[in-house]
Amino acid sequence: MNQIASQNAPSPKVVIPHFVFGGMTWLAVTTLIIFNPEAFTQHFFNPLLLSITHLLALGWITMVIFGALYQLIPVIMEVKLYSEKMAIFSFILLGLGAILLPFSFWNSQLGSFMYVSATIIVIGIGLFVANILFTALQSTKKSIEKIFILTAVIWLLFTVLAGLTLAINLAHPFLELSHLELLKLHAHAGVVGWFIQLIIGVSSRLLPMFMVSHNLNTKKLTFAYFFINIGLVIGIVSLFIEQANGVITSVFAVVFGIFCYLSFIYEAYKKRVKKHLDIGMKQTAISYIILILPLSLIFILLFKFEILETLTLPLAVAYGSTIFIGFITSLIMGQTYKTLPFIVWLKVYRNQVGKVKMPLPKDLYSEKVATIQLWLFALGFVTLLVGITFTTNNIVRASGILLFIAVALYNFNILKIVFHQPKKIE
């Protein structure tokens, strides 16, 4: 093999719009939190929270993951992306669906509007899945990271198809199972099957690369893979046939699998040669600390302790928030600083060596702004959890304001990176 990964990199035009759209959506969500804090202080099955969750899951998290994957797949699979056109169509459809579906939830517009929105998302995501699978077919490279990514992509397709079924079932009930149980099924297929597995696949390659960690025990990842997937299948079947013991078994299996992965990441951290954690890696580290919260909350919700009975509903909202706004969002914000500057830097400075002044990729954003953003985000997130736990709208609103400022700063840095111009040598 005598190939350079950057030769397989896709056009930045495919990648960058995903980051910009994602950042803007996340900013829009913070304004929704400010003006509608009640979304977080009632039962989680409410139209406002459904809208916010879908905006986050599709318009922010999945959107940025798609963009990042188009750049990373050639690195991990060592081939070019199958089709850039498909990626652009997928972006347009996902973007459109990510706005329309939450809009239909917000206005409780069940029926055709919701089906059309959900169908647009299914087609957009279907294009993405096909693109990734066709790319994988061209690659002979075998690695656990690749298997995680491909499995995650299949779970993503399952999640959106289950979502479409839910949307139809909401207007024309044909399934005997309650909407709440179906929602749990859809949500966990998405969170564990898609987000967590994708994160494992990508981070187990990238984080050791960023920290320069070698000689890691990848068997831990193989264990993680089997425990998570077997656990998830047991969980989904158990939820469908309403088998409580199956659900409990599934939670233990999935959580154990996640711990295997965390042990791998911890090993990489301990064996790292690059000691200093830059701002992107600091926010990444914080996201792993946050992950302890949902991994603990799931057991509290599962065993329904009497002493916490009055807190069950707020804790269920807190559980979802620690995953979406806590762990995944924090990880994506942190990793944006590790990936986007490199993507733009390569675009701007390829074939420019010696002709222009070359900054380092980290010079493309303001570290000061990123640092303020990180701590405002952490404060906003903690405030949100307090507001949810005490079901107090004003505290949730205050968290929305803190998060809004943090995300505005994050967007400032994204745009600073995206619009970076080289300086000519005098």
Partner: protein
């Protein structure tokens, strides 16, 4: 390595890995430098810390540019090699110290 090859190795300390912010020589990425004076050729064997490293292309471009400026009448080739695979033992003491700080 002869004196000329040593000189090129020193020169290559001016090429920095943009992620690790340490020069490629102290990272132990330069495996060999060969100067053929009669054919006016310079060959450099280079590896990367990880096969997926997306910075490879720019590092190579930077190396070629730097050598060409100093050896204008030579043909410069940089060969990317993956064997033996790069390990931490290839880091120089300076490289280790720099990574510990950066």
């Amino acid at each position: 390595m002869n004196t000329e090859e040593e000189k090129i190795l020193q020169l290559l300390k001016g090429v920095v890995d943009p992620e690790l912010m340490v020069n490629i020589v102290d990272l132990g990425l330069v495996y060999d430098v060969r100067v053929n004076e009669s054919e006016k050729k310079i060959d450099v064997d280079l590896t990367l810390t990880s096969p997926g490293c997306p910075m490879g292309e720019l590092i190579i471009e930077d190396m070629k540019q730097l050598i060409t400026v100093n050896y204008a009448d030579y043909k410069v080739s940089v060969n990317l090699v993956w064997e033996p695979m790069w390990t931490l033992e290839r880091l120089t003491e300076k490289g280790k110290a720099a990574l510990g700080k950066n």
